[in-house]
C-alpha cells in the first residue's frame, strides 16, 4: 500500500504543475500586472510611475512565462510564473499583494471554517444515513413515500433560503441564537449552532435520498435474505449488514470531501460572519490578488488529491476484497 500511496503522490506533482499553469494562464488572461497595481493603489491619483514602482516591488515587472532577454535557465526562472509558483511546492505561499502572510492567514482562518464544516459533515452524515435507513426500513409504506416527498421538497429549496429563513425565524423572530458572529473556544458554541443546523437541514434532502438509493440496492441482495433467514431482527440486518456494505459508495462521496472541509463554505461563512477560508479566494479574485488566488487553488488541488488517496485507502479498509497495488 505504501508503494501505491507514493506512486499516487508522485502522480500529483504533474497535476499540481498543470493546475498552477492553468490558474496562472486564466488569471493573466483576465488581469494584467498593470490592472493589479491599479486596483491595489486605489482609484485616485494613480500615476504610471506609481504603477511601475508597485510592479517592481511585487515582482510583477518580469515577463509572464518566458524571459527572452535572459540566458540559460533564467529564461524560465526569471519570470512571474516561476518566481511566484516554484516555492508553492515547498508550501511556501509567501505574501499576498496586500503584504499579508498567506500561510498565517490560512492558519488563522482554517479553525473557524472547520468549526462549522466538521460538525456539519459529521452530524449531516449521521442524519442523512439515519433518515435514509428509516425510509428503507419503512419502504413501500406511506412513511417512505412522505419521506421521499420531504427529501424532494428539501432538495428543491435554495441553500440561501435556508440561511435567510433560519436567521429570520430562529435569530430574529424568536431571539434564540445570535444571527451572526463568531468567537473562539466555548464561547463560539452559540454562534456555531445556527449555521450547523441550517447547513444540515439544507443537505438532508439530497443526502438522505442518495443514501436511500444505495441501501435499497443493498437490501435486495442475497446476503440480506440470508441474514433474515437466520432470524436476525430488521434493525440488526440494516445497521450491521446493509450499512456496512453500503459504506463503499458512501465513502466515495464522504472521504473525498474530508480534506476540503478546511476550505470552508463561501455563502454560509459570509452570512453568518464566520471568519473562515470560504471567502478568502473570492475576496482575492475580486482584489486581483494573484498571490492568494494561486495559493488557494494550489491548496485546494492538493487537498482534493489527498482526498482521493484517502478514499482509495478507505476502500481497502471497508472492503477486504479491495487491494491497493
Amino acid at each position: 500500500m505504501l508503494a501505491y500511496i507514493l506512486r499516487r503522490l508522485l502522480y500529483a506533482i504533474p497535476i499540481l504543475i498543470g493546475v498552477n499553469l492553468l490558474t496562472f494562464a486564466l488569471f493573466f488572461v483576465v488581469n494584467t500586472p498593470d490592472d493589479m497595481a491599479r486596483l491595489q493603489l486605489g482609484a485616485k491619483h494613480v500615476t504610471p510611475e506609481a504603477i511601475a514602482r508597485w510592479k517592481v516591488e511585487h515582482g510583477y515587472d518580469k515577463p509572464l512565462l518566458l524571459n527572452a532577454q535572459a540566458t540559460g535557465s533564467a529564461r524560465f526562472t526569471d519570470t512571474i510564473f516561476f518566481r511566484h509558483s516554484a516555492s508553492m511546492f515547498a508550501f511556501k505561499f509567501g505574501k499576498g499583494d496586500d503584504g499579508r502572510d498567506i500561510a498565517n492567514e490560512i492558519r488563522t482562518r482554517m479553525g473557524p471554517s472547520l468549526a462549522i464544516a466538521l460538525p456539519v459533515f459529521v452530524i449531516g452524515l449521521m442524519a442523512n444515513i439515519t433518515f435514509a435507513l428509516l425510509m428503507v426500513f419503512f419502504r413501500s409504506t406511506y412513511l417512505d413515500l412522505w419521506g421521499v416527498v420531504l427529501c424532494v421538497v428539501l432538495m428543491s429549496i435554495s441553500g440561501l433560503f435556508y440561511i435567510i429563513a433560519g436567521q429570520y425565524f430562529i435569530a430574529k423572530l424568536w431571539n434564540l441564537l445570535p444571527i451572526s458572529g463568531y468567537a473562539g473556544g466555548i464561547d463560539g458554541f452559540k454562534f456555531i449552532l445556527l449555521p450547523v443546523l441550517v447547513s444540515v437541514a439544507a443537505g438532508l434532502g439530497s443526502g438522505a435520498r442518495w443514501y436511500r438509493t444505495i441501501f435499497l440496492e443493498e437490501i435486495g441482495k442475497d446476503y440480506v435474505r440470508t441474514a433474515r433467514a437466520k432470524g436476525l431482527s430488521e434493525a440488526r440486518v440494516l445497521f450491521r449488514h446493509v450499512l456496512k456494505n453500503g459504506m463503499i459508495p458512501i465513502l466515495t462521496g464522504a472521504v473525498v470531501v474530508l480534506p476540503l472541509l478546511f476550505m470552508g463554505s463561501l455563502i454560509t461563512e459570509s452570512f453568518f460572519g464566520i471568519p473562515g477560508l470560504g471567502s478568502y479566494t473570492i475576496d482575492a479574485i475580486q482584489a486581483q490578488d494573484f498571490a492568494v488566488v494561486r495559493a488557494m487553488v494550489f491548496l485546494g488541488s492538493f487537498l482534493y488529491i489527498a482526498g482521493l488517496i484517502l478514499t482509495d485507502i478507505s476502500y481497502s479498509w471497508v472492503d477486504p476484497r479491495v487491494r491497493l497495488q
Binding site: K44, V56, A171, I179
Partner: protein, 720 residues
C-alpha cells in the same frame, strides 16, 4: 395513554426549564459577552476588511475609519461648523503659508502666483503629546530598547502586540511628522499620493528616486529614511517643522488634515522591520502606532477590530461653537466636556446586509445605513416628499440622519470622440440635447428611493462655489418656472438635436440613425433595469443607445485609451474646495493625454485659464465670480451630464448622541457618546427568547417518531 402522558409531561418540564433559563440568563441571541452589557462600548460593523492601516497608504473610507481615530495629523475639521472649517489638532494654530521667490526673497501675501517659487508652511505642535503604549518604545532601566534587536527566534510565538510584555511611550516631536513625509516617497510602501505630492513638495520626487535606487541596490536591507535628506521638509526645533511647496498650492492645507501627514515614530519602523515580524503580520500596515484618542487593541479583520481609549491621550474637549440648529438637536449638550466619551469601539465584520440590519434592529449595532432591501421598512415619504421614519422605527426611538455627500455622479462624453466630442456648436447642442433627455429626477426617484439631488454642475452642496436654488440652476438643462427648478421639455431637446444635425434622431446628410455607445462596468439584474432606463431616455429623442458591458480592467483600459463614447463615473471630494471638482475638467489633466483624472478629456482653453486663476484664490466674491464663469462654460459645453449628488441616509438608536454627519472629518468617533444603561434595557426588552417553537419542535418530532416506533415494534413482533 400512559406513555403519551409521560411524553407530554416531559415536554411540559422542558418548557418550564427553558422558561426559567430564558428568565435567568442574558439574551440568548446576544453576540457579545453578557458582561459587556452595560459597558461604555460602541458597536459598529464593517463590510469590507481594510487593506492598509499605514497612514502612508490608507486612503479608502473603510481604512480611514480606523486610521482617523488612531493617527493625528496637525489639523482637523471642526465637528459642527459648516462650511467645513479647519482647526488645529496637534498643531498650535492653522498655519498660514509665506511665499518666497526664486531668489529666496519673502513675498507679500498677495503676490501674484507667477512670482511665487515656494510656499512655506511652518507648523508648531503642542508639546507633551504622547504616543499610545507600544513595545516599540519600551526601554530597560539603562535606556536600551527592549525590542529593537530581536531575531526571528525571539519573535517566534508572538502574533499580537499584546504578546510583548513591555510597552512604553514617548513624546511626539516635529521630526515624526517629517519622517512620515519621507515615508510617502518610500517605494516599498507605494503611497497612493506620492505621485501627486511629488509634484508639490520640494524634493519629494528626488527623494523617491534616491530611495528606489537604494532599494534596488539592497533589496533585502531596510531603508533608513533618516539617512536620506528631503529638501521640502525640515525640522526647525523639537516642536516645529516646515514644509516647502513648489509655487502656490493653497489646497495643500487640506492635506494636512489627512492621515497621510500624521506622525509616525521611527521606532515603529525599526521594531516592525525585525526578522520574523512580517511573517506574523506584525507590520505598521497592520498594527498602527499613533497619538490619537484610540489605539487598535485587537485586529482580526476577518472577524472584528477593536479600538480602545488611548491611556496617554493628550486630551481635547467637545466643541463649544455651533449654530442654533446644532443646539436644538442637542449637539451642544456636551460642550466643553473632555473627549473621547466612548471607552471602546467594536467593529464586527458583517458582509451581508440582512444580518447587519437585523442586528441593528435587535440593538446590537448602534447605527446602520439603509440598504435597498430594508428601505421600505425604515423610510416613508411625507405628502411633501420629505423622507421620514416609519412608525415602527419611531416606536423604537430610532433617529434618521440625512446628508448630501460631497460627491457627484455624472455621465461623461468622451470629448475625443468624433460623434459626441469636440467643442463645435453642433456637438455642443447634441450633448445639451442628451443632457435634457436624461431625466435624473426620475432616476433618483426610481432607483435611489429619493436619495439624491439632481446636479446642476460639478460642485456639490456644502462646498464653496455651490449656489443653492434657482440662482444656481443649469440653464441649458433646467429652467426657472415660478421659482421652481424644472427640467426643460423634451421638445427643446429635439430642437437642439435637429440643430446639431440629427433631426428626429437621424443624420441630416446620410439619413442614418444616430447610435450612441455607453460603456459600463455595471452588470446583473439591478444594473439591467438601470441600463434599460438609460436606453429609454434616448428613445425619447429617437436615438439608439448600445450598452457595452465590460469588466473593471477593460473599462479602465478603454478610458485610458479614449475608446469609450459615453460612460458613467463619480468623484468623492478629497477636501472641501471647488478645485477638487473642477480639476476633473482641467485640460492638462486629460486621461488620454496625461493619465490624469479628466476622464472626459475635456479641454477648453478659457476654462483652463480660469481654473488656473481660481485654484490659487482665497474664498470670496471674486473667487465666486470666477467659479460662476467656469460653471457657465462647462454647462454650455456639457462634457458631462451632471447626474446627481448622492444623499446618504443613516439610522442611529436613541442611546447614541452627538451624531452629525461630517463628510470631511474622519476622526469623529471621539465625539460620539452612548447611554449604555438605556441600551441594555432596550436590548433586554427587544430580545426576549420565544420558547414555544422549541416545544413545538419537540412535539412535532415526537408526533412524527411515535408512529414510526409503533410500526417498528409491530414489524419486529411480526418477524418474531
Amino acid at each position: 395513554m400512559v406513555r403519551i402522558g409521560a411524553i407530554l409531561s416531559k415536554l411540559g418540564l422542558l418548557a418550564i426549564g427553558l422558561s426559567l433559563l430564558a428568565g435567568c440568563t442574558d439574551n440568548w441571541n446576544n453576540p457579545y459577552p453578557g458582561s459587556d452589557a452595560r459597558a461604555n462600548v460602541l458597536y459598529s460593523a464593517f463590510s469590507e476588511r481594510p487593506k492598509h492601516l499605514d497612514p502612508a497608504r490608507s486612503y479608502s473610507s473603510n481604512e480611514v475609519e480606523f486610521t482617523g481615530q488612531i493617527y493625528e495629523p496637525p489639523l482637523q475639521y471642526h465637528f459642527l461648523k459648516r462650511p467645513y472649517t479647519l482647526i488645529p489638532l496637534t498643531a498650535e494654530a492653522v498655519p498660514r503659508p509665506w511665499y518666497v521667490d526664486a531668489a529666496g526673497k519673502t513675498l507679500a501675501d498677495d503676490a501674484p502666483s507667477s512670482a511665487i517659487a515656494e510656499s512655506v508652511y511652518e507648523i508648531r505642535i503642542h508639546p507633551g503629546i504622547r504616543y499610545q503604549p507600544h513595545p516599540a518604545f519600551a526601554r530597560d532601566e539603562a535606556g536600551r530598547y527592549f525590542y529593537h534587536a530581536m531575531d526571528a527566534a525571539a519573535v517566534g510565538g508572538k502574533t499580537r502586540i499584546s504578546d510583548f510584555r513591555h510597552t512604553g511611550t514617548r513624546e511626539l516631536v516635529a521630526a515624526d511628522y517629517v519622517y512620515q513625509i519621507k515615508r510617502l516617497a518610500n517605494p516599498r510602501l507605494s503611497s497612493p499620493i506620492f505621485g501627486l505630492m511629488s509634484e508639490h513638495i520640494v524634493g519629494l520626487k528626488a527623494l523617491g528616486d534616491a530611495l528606489e535606487k537604494a532599494s534596488r541596490a539592497h533589496p533585502d536591507a531596510e531603508l533608513n529614511l533618516n539617512d536620506f535628506p528631503l529638501a521640502g521638509a525640515e525640522v526647525v526645533d523639537r516642536y516645529t517643522y516646515r514644509i516647502h511647496i513648489k509655487g502656490k498650492y493653497p489646497q495643500f492645507i487640506y492635506w494636512l488634515a489627512m492621515p497621510f501627514f500624521a506622525p509616525v515614530p521611527w521606532e515603529a519602523d525599526v521594531f516592525y522591520a525585525q526578522p520574523g515580524m512580517a511573517d506574523r503580520n506584525l507590520t505598521l500596515d497592520w498594527q498602527p502606532v499613533g497619538t490619537g484618542p484610540y489605539y487598535l487593541s485587537e485586529n482580526d479583520p476577518n472577524r472584528r477590530m477593536v479600538l480602545k481609549k488611548n491611556p496617554y491621550y493628550h486630551g481635547e474637549t467637545y466643541p463649544v461653537d455651533g449654530d442654533a440648529a446644532d443646539r436644538q438637536a442637542g449637539l451642544l449638550a456636551d460642550a466643553g466636556k473632555p473627549l473621547p466619551f466612548v471607552d471602546e469601539a467594536v467593529f464586527s465584520l458583517e458582509k451581508e446586509t440582512i444580518p447587519y440590519w437585523s442586528k441593528f434592529l435587535q440593538g446590537y449595532y448602534d447605527s446602520s445605513g439603509i440598504s435597498s432591501d430594508s428601505f421600505d421598512q425604515a423610510i416613508q415619504f411625507s405628502s411633501g416628499g420629505a423622507p421620514q421614519l416609519t412608525d415602527s422605527m419611531r416606536g423604537k426611538d430610532i433617529h434618521l440622519i440625512t446628508t448630501v455627500a460631497a460627491s457627484i455622479w455624472y455621465v461623461g462624453f468622451n470629448m475625443l470622440d468624433p460623434v459626441v466630442g469636440g467643442l463645435g456648436e453642433d456637438r455642443r447642442k447634441l450633448r445639451q440635447a442628451i443632457s435634457i433627455a436624461f431625466d435624473y429626477d426620475e432616476f433618483i426617484s426610481i432607483f435611489l428611493n429619493g436619495r439624491g439631488i439632481p446636479a446642476q454642475g460639478p460642485i456639490p452642496p456644502g462646498l464653496f462655489g455651490y449656489v443653492d436654488g434657482v440662482a444656481g440652476l443649469n440653464p441649458y438643462v433646467y429652467e426657472n418656472r415660478g421659482g421652481r427648478i424644472v427640467r426643460r421639455s423634451i421638445e427643446v431637446a429635439k430642437q437642439l438635436l435637429a440643430e446639431a444635425g440629427y433631426p428626429n434622431g437621424r443624420n441630416a446628410r446620410t439619413g442614418a440613425p444616430l447610435v450612441l455607445y455607453f460603456d459600463t462596468m455595471a452588470s446583473g439584474p439591478d444594473a439591467k433595469s438601470r441600463l434599460d432606463w438609460m436606453k429609454k431616455q434616448l428613445d425619447k429623442l429617437n436615438v439608439q443607445l448600445v450598452v457595452r458591458g465590460t469588466d473593471y480592467n477593460r473599462f479602465q483600459d478603454k478610458m485610458r485609451k479614449g475608446n469609450a463614447q459615453l460612460f458613467e463615473w463619480g468623484w468623492n471630494a478629497d477636501y472641501p474646495d471647488p478645485e477638487n471638482f473642477f480639476f476633473l475638467l482641467y485640460g492638462p489633466n486629460r486621461k488620454v493625454a496625461s493619465g490624469g483624472e479628466n476622464a472626459a478629456n475635456y479641454d477648453n482653453p478659457e476654462f483652463n485659464r480660469l481654473f488656473e486663476r481660481m485654484k490659487d484664490m482665497d474664498n470670496g466674491p471674486e473667487r465666486q465670480r470666477v467659479i460662476d464663469a467656469m460653471l457657465d462654460i462647462v454647462r454650455r459645453d456639457a462634457p458631462w451630464i451632471f447626474a446627481y449628488y448622492p444623499k446618504s441616509f443613516g439610522l442611529t438608536h436613541g442611546w447614541v448622541h452627538n451624531v452629525k454627519p461630517n463628510l470631511m472629518a474622519n476622526n469623529t468617533l471621539k465625539y460620539r457618546r452612548i447611554d449604555p444603561g438605556l441600551r441594555a434595557t432596550r436590548r433586554k426588552e427587544w430580545n426576549r427568547p420565544v420558547l414555544w417553537p422549541i416545544v413545538l419542535l419537540f412535539a412535532v418530532l415526537a408526533a412524527a417518531i411515535a408512529p414510526a416506533v409503533i410500526a417498528w415494534r409491530r414489524h419486529e413482533r411480526k418477524v418474531a
